[in-house]
C-alpha cells in the first residue's frame, strides 16, 4: 500500500512540477519560429536536395541572382538588373544571357561575391565527382564564363525559354568550397551542405539540431538592408495535428501545407490563413495508352465526366478553409490557371448532368439492361479512378463516383500509397503502366512560374526504353507536341503566350486534362508575425523585412 502511495505521489509531483514550470520563457530577442512537417536533408538545394522545404529556406541564407516577389515580379539580388533584350542581357538569338553583378555584394565573412562564384557553381553542378541531385538546367548550357569579376556570361546550346526561373537560384562560395573539392574530389560529403559556413542572405545558419530545429541568425555583413529579426527557428513537426496544436498554442508562428479543415480550426483560434498560388492545379489525367482503357479514349466519355461532376459544389463543400462565403478553393480552368499564361477565353464546363447523359447517348452509350449503368456493344461503361490515399482526394472520389453514377458511368475507386502512385514506369507504377482509366493529383509547370511543361509530349511517353518518362497518359497528339516543342524555343514572351493559349484550347476541346481546382498552398500565420509576404517561389524572399509585434 505504501509502495503504491509513494509511486502515485511521485507521479503527481512530477506532473505538478513539470506543469508549474510550464509557460513560455521571456524573449529578449526578436525571434520567429516556423514549423516544417518535413526535416530537410540538406540546405544545399538543387545540388544535394530536391525537397520543397529545403527550397523554402534558400533565400534566408543564400542570395540568388534574382528572386520573384509575391506578385511574381523578378527582383534583382546579386544581379544589378534582370537580363533582357532591352538592356543587352539577352542576346538577339536568345541563347546567351549576360548577368551583370552588383559591385557591393559580399559573403558573410566579408569576401566579395564575384562572377567566379557563378562559374564555380556551374562547374560543381557539372563535375563528375559530385553526385548532385539534378544538373538541370546547367546541363543545357554550353559554357559559363566570367569576362570580368562582375559579369557572368551563360551560353545555352539552344534557346532555353525558362532560364529566368531556373538558373543560379543558389550561388556557392568558391573560396570556401574549392579547397574541399580539390582535396576530396567531391563536395558530396562537405559539411557546408548541412551547415553552410558562409552566407549571402539576410541570415546565417548558426545551428542544426537534428530532428529538432535549425537556427538562423542575422547576417551582420548582409549587403542589403539588414534583417529586422535577430533569429529564426525552423522547427520540425512531422505530424499535421501536432503542427495545428503548436500553432494554436503559439509555439510556432508559421505553418505550411495546412489542410482545409485544419485551416478552419486555426482561423477559429485566431490564426491567419493565407493562400499562396504556387502554380499547382488539381486535375484528372486520362489514359491514352495503346491497348488500354478503350472507353476513356472516347471524347464523349471524357466530356460526360466534365459535365457530370459538380466541381463547384466539390470545392465549396470539401475545400473550405474559412467561414466566409468565398473562403474555399476555386475551380481551375486549365493547367496554367491563375498565371499570366492562362487563356482567359477558356471556361469551366458547368455542372450539367442532363447534357452529360445526352453526350453519352449520342455516342452510343445506352443503359440497355436498366441497371442505371450504360453499355455499348455489350461493354459496360465502367471506369477506374486512381489517386493516392490523401483524405481529401478520397472524399472527392466518393462524391464524384456518386455523381457519375447518376449519368450512367460506373466508377471503381483505387487508392494507392503515394510512393507507388507517384512512382515511374520503371518502378512498376500501375498508373504509368496504364492500368487505370483516369487518375487525379495536383502539380505545377516544372519551372513555375515559367509555363514550360513536358507531361503531354510524345518523347516523354514512358516505355521500356524510357522508364522515367513523365507522360503517363501516353498521349501523343502531334499538333500539341509541336506546340510544346515550339514554345520552349521562343524568347519572345508574347509569342510564347500565344502558343500556350493554343495549347490550352486543344487540351480543353479534347478534354486531355480535366481541371478540378486551383490548389494554392495554405500558410498559417500567428497574429504577431508582421510583413510576411509569402511568394509562390522564393517563398521567403522578403525575410529581411519580417518582424514580430510586441
Amino acid at each position: 500500500m505504501h509502495f503504491r502511495k509513494n509511486l502515485l505521489g511521485a507521479i503527481t509531483i512530477l506532473m505538478m512540477v513539470s506543469m508549474v514550470l510550464g509557460g513560455v520563457g521571456a524573449q529578449n530577442t526578436k525571434s520567429l519560429s516556423l514549423a516544417f512537417v518535413q526535416e530537410i536533408d540538406s540546405l544545399n538545394f538543387g545540388m544535394y536536395s530536391s525537397q520543397f522545404f529545403s527550397a523554402l529556406l534558400t533565400t534566408l541564407w543564400n542570395s540568388p541572382a534574382w528572386v520573384f516577389d509575391d506578385q511574381l515580379n523578378p527582383i534583382p539580388r546579386l544581379a544589378a538588373e534582370i537580363p533582357s533584350t532591352d538592356n543587352g542581357g539577352v542576346s538577339p538569338d536568345g541563347k546567351t544571357i549576360t548577368i551583370r553583378l552588383r559591385d557591393d555584394i559580399v559573403w558573410s565573412d566579408g569576401e566579395p561575391i564575384t562572377s567566379a562564384d557563378f562559374v564555380f557553381t556551374y562547374e560543381m553542378f557539372m563535375a563528375d565527382g559530385n553526385a548532385v541531385d539534378s544538373r538541370s538546367p546547367y546541363s543545357l548550357m554550353e559554357s559559363v564564363t566570367a569576362p570580368d569579376s562582375q559579369t557572368v556570361v551563360v551560353k545555352f546550346a539552344d534557346v532555353y525559354a525558362p532560364w529566368l526561373t531556373s538558373i543560379f537560384t543558389l550561388v556557392h562560395p568558391k573560396h570556401i568550397l574549392e579547397p574541399i573539392f580539390e582535396a576530396e574530389g567531391t563536395l558530396d560529403n562537405a559539411s557546408y551542405n548541412r551547415i553552410p559556413t558562409v552566407s549571402s542572405g539576410p541570415f546565417v545558419v548558426s545551428e542544426w539540431q537534428t530532428g529538432n530545429y535549425i537556427l538562423f541568425t542575422r547576417n551582420e555583413a548582409y549587403f542589403d538592408e539588414p534583417a529586422i529579426l535577430d533569429q529564426i527557428f525552423v522547427r520540425f513537426i512531422p505530424d499535421d495535428a501536432a503542427q495545428v496544436a503548436a500553432l494554436i498554442n503559439r509555439d510556432v508562428d508559421l505553418g505550411i501545407f495546412i489542410a482545409p479543415d485544419d485551416a478552419l480550426t486555426l482561423q477559429r483560434n485566431g490564426i491567419d490563413i493565407i493562400a499562396v498560388n504556387s502554380g499547382y492545379n488539381e486535375g484528372l489525367y486520362f489514359n491514352f495508352r495503346e491497348g488500354k482503357a478503350p472507353a476513356i479514349k472516347e471524347l464523349a466519355v471524357r466530356q460526360a465526366i466534365a459535365y457530370g461532376m459538380d466541381r463547384q459544389g466539390i470545392v465549396e463543400d470539401l475545400l473550405r478553409y474559412g467561414d466566409g462565403p468565398d473562403d474555399h478553393n476555386v475551380v481551375a480552368t486549365n493547367f496554367w490557371y491563375n498565371t499570366p499564361w492562362s487563356n482567359p477565353d477558356i471556361q469551366v464546363e458547368e455542372y450539367n448532368p442532363d447534357l452529360a447523359r445526352q453526350i453519352l447517348e449520342e455516342a452510343g452509350w445506352i443503359d440497355e439492361d436498366g441497371d442505371g449503368i450504360r453499355e455499348k456493344d455489350g461493354v459496360r461503361l465502367r471506369l477506374t479512378w486512381a489517386t493516392n490515399q490523401r483524405r481529401l482526394r478520397t472524399l472527392v472520389q466518393a462524391v464524384g463516383q456518386q455523381q457519375l453514377a447518376e449519368v450512367g458511368i460506373e466508377v471503381q475507386l483505387v487508392n494507392l500509397p503515394s510512393d507507388i502512385f507517384f512512382g515511374s514506369y520503371g518502378d512498376g507504377n500501375p498508373v504509368a503502366l496504364g492500368e487505370y482509366d483516369f487518375w487525379e493529383f495536383s502539380t505545377t509547370p516544372g519551372s513555375f512560374p515559367d509555363p514550360n511543361h513536358v507531361y503531354w509530349t510524345c518523347a516523354e511517353i514512358p516505355s521500356d526504353d524510357n522508364p522515367s518518362g513523365a507522360n503517363d497518359m501516353a498521349l501523343c497528339d502531334e499538333e500539341l507536341d509541336a506546340l510544346f516543342q515550339l514554345q520552349r524555343t521562343l524568347a519572345d514572351p508574347e509569342a510564347r503566350q500565344a502558343i500556350f493559349y493554343q495549347i490550352q484550347q486543344i487540351m480543353h476541346d479534347n478534354v486531355y486534362w480535366l481541371p478540378m481546382w486551383h490548389d494554392p498552398d495554405l500558410y498559417a500565420l500567428s497574429a504577431r508575425f508582421e510583413n510576411a509576404r509569402i511568394a509562390p517561389i522564393f517563398q521567403f524572399w522578403n525575410a529581411a523585412n519580417w518582424d514580430v509585434s510586441s
Partner: protein, 342 residues
C-alpha cells in the same frame, strides 16, 4: 557460463551475416532512392544513369553487398560514363566500421544514427522503466486481490488501454494537457520537441517535454505487462514453497518480493529481454506526434526516401542487439532460477 556466452556469440556470427544478406536484398527492392531526386519533375533517364554510376547503384546487387561489407576503396567506378573505371570508392565497409553514407543526407550513417540515438535512449529508457515499475505495482496489487472490485476495475482499464491505438492516446494527451489546459488558463505541458529552441536546455525543461510522450508510450505497455505480472503472481502465490515460506515465519513483504516475485517475473524477464533491442528502433508514432528527434523518425524518413544505407544501419543495429539481449536474457534466467543451467 563464460563458455556458454562465447559459444552463443560465435554461433551468432553466421546468423548476423545471413540477416544482413536477407535485409540487403529486401531493402534494395522496397523503393527507388533516385525517384524523387528530380524535385517537381521525375528524375530523367540521363540523370538516373549518372546518379546510379556515381552512387554505385549500377553495380549488381552482390557487388553492392560486398561493398557494404568490405568497402569499395579497392574498386574503380566509372564516374564520367565513358565505360572505364576512373575513381576509387571511398567506403571501408561495415567490417571495417563504416556503415556507409546516407543517400538523403550525404553524410556517414554512423553520424546520422548517433545524432538520433541519445534522444531515443532517453525517451524509450524512461518510458520503459516507468512501464516496468507501474506494471509491477499494478500487477502485484491485482494479484493480491484477485476478482475484487479493484482487480476488476484494473482488468477492465487494462483491456481498454491495451485496445487503444497509440496515436489516439498521444493526440488526446496532446490536446488535453497542452492545448486545452493552456486555453483554460491552467498549467500546461509543451506540445512538441525535446526542449524549447533558444532557451537553455535544463533537466527540468527536457523532463517537461518528456511527460506526454512517456505517458503515451507507457499506458498501453503498462496495461499489457501488468497482466503478465498478475498472472505470474497468481500462479506462484498459491505454491507450496510460498506456503512453506509463510510457515517459516517470514514476513508477508519478504515472501512476496523475495520468493514470489522472483519466480513470477520470469515471463516478464523474457519480454524485457526481447523488447529492449527494439527500444533503440524508437517509437515511430509517438516520436512523430511529439516531434521527438529520435530513431523512429529517422526510420520513417529513411523508409520514405528509400535510404538503404541508413535502413541497413538501423536494422543491423537492432539485429545485433537482439542477439546480445537474447544471450543476456538466458544469463539472467539462470541467475534468477537456479533450476536453469546454461
Amino acid at each position: 557460463m563464460l563458455r556458454f556466452i562465447v559459444r552463443r556469440l560465435i554461433q551468432s556470427i553466421p546468423l548476423l551475416f545471413l540477416i544482413s544478406a536477407i535485409l540487403f536484398v529486401i531493402l534494395n527492392n522496397i523503393g527507388d532512392p533516385l525517384a524523387t531526386l528530380g524535385g517537381r519533375q521525375r528524375t530523367s533517364a540521363a540523370e538516373r544513369d549518372r546518379l546510379e554510376r556515381q552512387l554505385g547503384l549500377d553495380q549488381p546487387i552482390h557487388m553492392q553487398y560486398i561493398f557494404w561489407l568490405i568497402g569499395n576503396d579497392w574498386f574503380q567506378f566509372d564516374s564520367d560514363g565513358d565505360g572505364v573505371g576512373d575513381r576509387y570508392g571511398t567506403r571501408r565497409g561495415i567490417l571495417r566500421g563504416d556503415l556507409g553514407s546516407s543517400f538523403r543526407e550525404r553524410r556517414p550513417v554512423s553520424d546520422v544514427i548517433s545524432d538520433r540515438l541519445p534522444p531515443t535512449l532517453l525517451l524509450m529508457g524512461t518510458a520503459y522503466v516507468f512501464t516496468i515499475i507501474m506494471a509491477l505495482g499494478v500487477g502485484i496489487y491485482s494479484a493480491l486481490r484477485p476478482y475484487s472490485r479493484a482487480d476488476n476495475v484494473i482488468t477492465a482499464l487494462s483491456f481498454i488501454l491495451y485496445s487503444m491505438p497509440i496515436f489516439w492516446i498521444a493526440l488526446s494527451l496532446l490536446w488535453i494537457f497542452a492545448v486545452t489546459f493552456k486555453q483554460a488558463g491552467l498549467p500546461y505541458l509543451p506540445t512538441v520537441g525535446m526542449y524549447e529552441p533558444g532557451q537553455p536546455v535544463t533537466v527540468a525543461q527536457v523532463a517537461r517535454h518528456m511527460v506526454l510522450p512517456v505517458l503515451s508510450l507507457s499506458l498501453i505497455s503498462i496495461a499489457g505487462y501488468s497482466r503478465y505480472v498478475r498472472s505470474g503472481m497468481l500462479e506462484v502465490i498459491n505454491s507450496d514453497y510460498i506456503r512453506t515460506a509463510y510457515a517459516k515465519g517470514l514476513s508477508g513483504r519478504r515472501v512476496l518480493y523475495r520468493h514470489a516475485l522472483k519466480n513470477a517475473s520470469l515471463p516478464l524477464v523474457t519480454l524485457i529481454g526481447l523488447d529492449i533491442p527494439f527500444l533503440l528502433g524508437g517509437a515511430v508514432v509517438t516520436e512523430q506526434i511529439f516531434s521527438w528527434p529520435g530513431m523512429g523518425q529517422l526510420f520513417i524518413n529513411a523508409l520514405d526516401g528509400a535510404d538503404f544505407p541508413v535502413l541497413m544501419g538501423l536494422l543491423m543495429l537492432i539485429a545485433l542487439l537482439v542477439v546480445i539481449f537474447q544471450i543476456l536474457t538466458d544469463v539472467v534466467y539462470a541467475l534468477i532460477d537456479p533450476r536453469i543451467r546454461l
